[in-house]
């Protein structure tokens, strides 16, 4: 009898459904209503419309109140002007009289002045009377006392509408199946905060880009505008004019930097991953010690080692050659560190299997390990490019023809007020390259990360 109610074959459920049911049963999450996108969109649209309508109405009332206040102010001002001008005419008249007394010859002029003064008096009086009449017509709005409430209400409604609109957008964009342990309000708060912080983070960058597009008069305008009113590329063309007049052609600096960056990065990736591979996957005497030394070296900044480094390079006769920049870049500790950390995530069984199949270390490294750590080498490429692109290397490179782009640009940037526009352009160029490289390779990183689901 008891078995009767149990269905013979239960409907097929996915793992997620079972999980969800279980959690509902345990009372750990509430049964959520099915989320109807269309309905949600319509209702939120109506709510937003109502909010906007309320804002418009409030704004209308505020406008009438403002008009009334303006009229009042104008009335007061007019009264003040009348008083002032009366005084002025009186003083003018006295001055004129005094002048007349001193110089009889200018009697005619004095008379004319007095005449003019009286005329002015008459006209101002007439104006004043008309204005007071006009003010008399304006009624005091009935809800004048509510004005502060209106203002506060408007502000609240605007903030509310923005927040609600943001919430709706997030709700609509969010993936269909939510993670069971996330609250909507938590998501909302986090996204809102992220948005605010993102605006703060990006503002100086946007500002410097817009500064490079401003003509000179707008660069010095106060208060400053965030976006240029008449965007020009003048700053950039000026910069190229300055560069083309320099002793060494501009393209030389560019080639130098590109060469350095390319060779330095390639060598760094190769050498660092070779070292990282053995450090991560083999247990050999001295390996651990070496790695801990590398980690410690990570903390020594370039300023600290600058002086002894120069002495060593001059002993090796590398001063004023590209090697002085490239060779230290090959051995940058950060690349090795990152690579080793990533390679430790690789399953050891993979390498053991390759060993059993008779592959040598070189082959394992080249055709098994390297393809599997793509995200890591993209990351260290970014770091290497970023640091090499920004080296000005002023301490180790002396000949003009070997100088890097950033160094040449910084020389222009130091040109003072006359080169403000060009300096802004330089900032943008120097900034744009690493950011662009990052944007391009970042999508690669995300892609490789998503597809590389290796589990041990």
């Amino acid at each position: 009898m008891e078995n009767k109610n149990i269905p013979v074959k239960p409907a097929k459920k996915t793992r997620g459904d079972i999980l969800h049911e279980r959690m509902v049963l345990l009372g750990e999450i509430k049964e959520e209503k099915k989320f109807d996108k269309k309905k949600f969109f319509l209702t939120s649209l109506i709510i937003l419309c109502v909010m906007i309508a309320a804002i418009v109405v409030l704004q209308y009332r505020l406008n009438t109140i403002a008009a009334y206040e303006d009229a009042l102010y104008a009335q007061q001002a007019a009264a003040e002007i009348v008083a002032d001008e009366n005084a002025a005419t009186v003083s003018e008249a006295t001055v004129a009289e005094a002048a007349a007394a001193v110089e009889a010859a200018t009697e005619m002029e004095a008379a004319a002045a007095v005449e003019a003064a009286t005329e002015v008096e008459a006209t101002t009086e007439a104006e004043a009377t008309t204005e007071t009449e006009a003010v008399g017509e304006i009624k005091k709005p009935q809800d004048y006392t509510f004005a502060p409430f209106y203002r506060a209400g408007k502000l609240l409604l605007i903030v509310g509408a923005c927040a609600y609109g943001f919430y709706v957008v997030i709700r609509l964009l969010a993936p269909k199946r939510r993670k069971p342990n996330r609250s909507v309000w938590g998501d909302f708060g986090i996204y809102f905060m992220l948005l605010c912080v993102a605006i703060l983070m990006i503002f100086p960058l946007v500002f410097s880009v817009s500064a490079s597009l401003k003509p000179l008069d707008e660069l010095f305008r106060f208060p400053p505008t965030v976006f240029p009113r008449q965007p020009t590329m003048d700053n950039f063309s000026d910069l190229f004019v300055t560069l083309s007049q320099s002793f060494v052609p501009f393209s030389r600096y560019l080639v130098n930097t590109v060469f350095l960056t390319f060779i330095g990065t390639m060598g760094h990736v190769l050498i660092a991953s070779m070292a990282a591979f053995v450090l991560a996957k083999y247990d050999f005497p001295g390996g651990k010690t070496f790695f801990s030394i590398v980690v410690t070296a990570l903390m020594f900044s370039g300023y600290v080692t600058g002086i002894p480094n120069y002495v060593i390079m001059s002993k090796l006769r590398m001063i004023d050659t590209y090697w002085a920049i490239i060779l230290p870049a090959f051995a940058a500790p950060i690349g090795l560190f990152l690579m080793k950390q990533f390679m430790e995530g690789l399953p050891t069984s993979l390498i053991e299997a390759a060993h059993l199949d008779g592959a040598g270390e070189m082959r394992i490294f080249w055709s098994i390990v390297m393809p599997n750590v793509k995200p890591a080498w993209l990351t260290i490429i970014i770091f290497s490019v970023q640091s090499l692109w920004n080296t000005n290397a002023s301490t180790v490179i002396y000949s003009e023809a070997k100088k890097t782009l950033v160094y040449a640009l910084q020389q222009i940037q130091a040109g003072g007020i006359a080169r403000t526009g060009q300096a802004a352009a330089v900032t943008v160029i120097v900034m744009l390259v690493p950011i662009t490289i990052f944007i391009l390779s970042q999508s690669r990183i995300l892609e490789t990360m998503a597809s590389s689901g290796l589990k041990d």
């Binding site: 999980l19 345990l26 964009l173 069971p180 342990n181 996330r182 609250s183 998501d187 986090i190 996204y191 992220l194 993102a198 703060l200 983070m201 990006i202 100086p204 960058l205 500002f207 410097s208 106060f222 400053p224 660092a272 070292a275 083999y282 005497p285 390996g287 070496f290 030394i293 410690t296 070296a297 903390m299 020594f300 300023y303 600290v304 080692t305 002894p308 480094n309 060593i312 090796l316 230290p328 051995a331 950060i334 990152l338 950390q341 430790e344 995530g345 270390e361 995200p375 970014i382 770091f383 970023q386 950033v406 900032t427 120097v430 900034m431 950011i435 990052f438 944007i439 970042q442 998503a450």
Partner: protein
């Protein structure tokens, strides 16, 4: 005792023999390591060692270094008041920007990780851009300018919060705060990027197991699942943030001037810069560098032991 020593020496000899044999067998490993090791030793280890050696000498590049013992260190502590100011400033900056920058970059990486894919891509760029944008922080010298034309001053005066413009970058009372703000703005650096990468690599199955085991909200999930599986990244981020927190040099030099009013924005590295590159007292500068290095190593050890407790 004697027999004990004897066995000890024998054991040591055995281990050395064993290691040597192992090393001989794993020759290929050393071959792989060799190019990096050679370059690394030349450009990172050797300079550090010479720097430590110079710190015990008086050296001005032209003459040969003269050995003076601990004189440089004694001068540092007893005679150089500016050095003590710089230590104080560096500690203030490091204690505030280090942990806050570290926590912020982890939190933002974690928040960003929950976003839909394409927004996440944009957000990562937005947050990471300030730290790779070269010397864009120059723009802050306009924002914090001391006269009424500085953006912040004019903004505050317009709102009636202050009556007269504040000399943000010249007044010793405000300098450090401004510098800390700018450094925090730039703190989403290498560590942030590694957090983003690490968060994406956390095993999804762990989260599902977490739901079943009764993890109720995102904070529990963070503490019990996400953080423990991100330990390598956390360690790396800590090292990076210590490095950047103690090696503050460019920002105060660009914003507060060099030297700054009353040395109020002088850090250990600017002090080192002053002695090394302006006065050419290399021995003294090396002593400063060694002190900085020791402080950083100690900090790193402390943080590592703290990170071991994460998720337990």
């Amino acid at each position: 005792m004697k027999s004990f020593l004897k066995t000890y020496v024998e054991m040591k000899r055995e281990t050395i023999k064993y290691n040597f044999a192992k090393a001989k067998r794993m020759k290929i490993c050393y071959l792989f390591l060799l190019p990096y090791a050679v370059l690394f030793t030349t450009f990172f280890i050797l300079p550090i060692c010479t720097s430590i050696y110079y710190s015990f000498t008086q050296y001005n590049i032209l003459e040969k270094p003269q050995f003076v013992g601990f004189q440089n260190y004694i001068n540092l502590v007893l005679q150089d008041e500016v050095f003590l100011t710089s230590v104080k400033n560096t500690l203030v900056i490091a204690v505030i920007t280090g942990p806050i920058g570290y926590i912020l970059s982890f939190l933002f990486a974690w928040f960003i990780n929950e976003l839909p894919k394409w927004i996440r891509a944009i957000a990562v760029v937005v947050f990471y851009a300030p730290s790779i944008a070269g010397n864009v922080y120059f723009i802050f010298s306009i924002i914090f300018r001391g006269d009424i034309y500085g953006y912040l001053n004019s903004f505050l005066v317009d709102f009636g919060l202050i009556n007269a413009p504040i000399l943000w970058l010249t007044d010793p009372n405000y300098m450090l705060t401004v510098i800390i703000i700018v450094i925090l703005w730039m703190s989403m650096g290498t560590g942030f990027l590694s957090f983003v990468a690490g968060l994406q690599g956390v095993d999804r199955a762990m989260y599902e197991a977490g739901y079943v085991d009764g993890i109720k909200n995102r904070w529990q999930e963070l503490w019990y699942i996400t953080l423990p599986s991100m330990k390598p990244m956390l360690l790396f981020g800590a090292v990076m943030s210590i490095t950047s927190a103690f090696n503050v040099c460019d920002v105060p030099r660009a914003l507060a001037g060099y030297p700054s009013t009353d040395y109020a924005a002088r850090t250990i590295v600017t002090h080192l810069f002053d002695y090394g590159f302006s006065r050419f007292e290399m021995g003294y500068a090396s002593a400063i560098a060694t002190v900085l290095f020791l402080v950083m190593i100690l900090c790193n050890k402390a943080i590592q032991s703290m990170l071991r407790k994460v998720g337990s």
